[in-house]
């Protein structure tokens, strides 16, 4: 069996197997199918949601929020991390407050967020931003601290300016270490969007779950869960594609 087929076939087999187990549990578990739908029911209802456009609408809404929140976190978090990693006094000054804010779950911010931003996309985007921002800042600081000192000496030796050292040495040097951080934080962002959408909005996969629960449609709940899982895989794959760029993947050698 070629490697390529293996990479597709083996996970697929496990998925099919899991489907069987699921089917068994829902048949033999003693629950009503309305409470614990079978895979087939879920597939059929998903087809319905796809056909009438509901699923697409909610998925796009969630992806939009994650994209905006995550990009904001990347665009602010990585430069801030680079500055703090380089500027030791700043690092000393700000590290404690970052470490203080980091373990506070984004969900704890929900009440404040709703008061500050009202309803709509803004509170959700802000929560996603919070969830990714601190992990990104912290891992960027750490990776700047670990940049091989030889590279900095090379920069000094060839008279690179401060700005050049930042853009041509430090930034590319931390990329391989930043990539796993991006993967982890986009994962967190995707987890948080569902929670964020259970408040204050009327669209998104999180809203679909909440709304379906209120309507006692567990098959729709599972549809949304399945899409969340699939997109989670997709986002992770998308970011790991960056690893294929030679100037990013050098750290792996």
């Amino acid at each position: 069996m070629s490697d390529r087929i293996k990479h597709i076939l083996l996970p697929l087999l496990v998925f099919v197997g899991a489907g069987f187990v699921w089917q068994l549990f829902s048949l033999l578990g003693g629950w009503r199918t309305g409470v614990f739908p079978t895979p087939l029911q879920v597939a059929v209802s998903m087809w319905g949601l796809i056909a009438n456009g509901t699923l697409l609408k909610h998925t796009v809404a969630s992806l939009f929020r994650v994209t905006v929140g995550f990009y904001l976190a990347v665009l602010l978090g990585i430069p801030l991390g680079m500055i703090l990693g380089w500027w030791k006094t700043g690092q000393l000054a700000f590290n404690s407050v970052i470490q203080f804010l980091r373990p506070i779950s984004p969900l704890a911010w929900i009440p404040l967020t709703m008061l500050w931003f009202g309803i709509g996309d803004k509170p959700a985007v802000f929560l996603i931003f919070l969830s990714s921002f601190f992990p990104l800042v912290v891992s960027t600081v750490v990776s700047v601290n670990h940049v091989n000192s030889t590279y900095l000496r090379v920069a000094a030796n060839f008279n690179l300016s401060k700005v050049e050292t930042f853009t041509k040495i430090i930034f590319p040097a931390i990329l391989p270490a930043i990539l796993p951080a991006l993967r982890i934080s986009v994962g967190i962002a995707w987890v948080v969007v569902v929670a964020a959408e259970m408040i204050a909005v009327k669209s998104g996969l999180g809203y679909l779950i909440l709304d379906s629960r209120n309507a006692l449609r567990m098959d729709f709940v599972m549809d949304a869960m399945a899409v969340i899982g699939l997109i989670g895989i997709g986002l992770d794959r998308m970011i790991s594609q960056l690893n294929k760029i030679e100037s990013v993947s050098w750290g792996a050698h």
Partner: protein, 266 residues
Amino acid sequence: MGHVLIQALSKSYTEKRRKSRRGNGNGGFQRGENLPVLDTIDLEFANGELVCILGPSGCGKSTLVRILAGFEKCSSGSVLIDGKEVCGPSSDHVFVFQHSGLLPWLTVWENVSLGVRKMKEKERMAELVEQNIDIVGLTGFEHLYPHQLSGGMQRRAELARALVVNPGILFMDEPFAGLDFLTRLNLREEIINMHILIRKTIIFITHDIDEALIMGDRLVVFSERPAKVKLGLPLDFPHPRDFSKNQSLSDLRKEIYSVLGVHYAL
């Protein structure tokens, strides 16, 4: 240009925290313990000399070249290069690092062009880069990344990067560390030939006695840490040097082995 004058240079590191060696009961930390590395070094190298600095591992050879290159400050004494005090790194004094100093996210071409990136005439710049890649025999490998090259090719690329800025002095800190023996021998010969061609001051750190004797115009032997100059002498032997054919070279080799405390190696 590349005249180097080192006067009464000393360096010691202050260890911020170090466990007290003496069991003085509290087992605590002592602050500010001094670790002398270089002890009143006086040396002078003429312009265009290939100087081999030899010494036991960890004796402070690397510290000396890092100070000469401006990466570190000395604790006392002075370093004058062409009559001017060294006050920081400069592209006139280029360093070839112990383990590859190539930037791994750049191709060979991009690495080599680092020192001439600001050149206005791009054609002239490309010409210079290609010319130096050619000198080290890497034509055809310009667009590969460092990890795609063998260890020897990586050192050549780094050498090309250093040569491209036409520096007054080249510092080479054990540039052959980690290379296999044959590659080492080949690179040795290439550096000798290159040096004859360009006649730049090269300060070459090694712990290989034969290598130092075969390559150097001048030999400096350091003691154990804190390093003092044990021996400093010119090596006026014609290239290629052969221990079996040149009795005085062979005698000198024996002497250096014994200066470094080895009596059984021959």
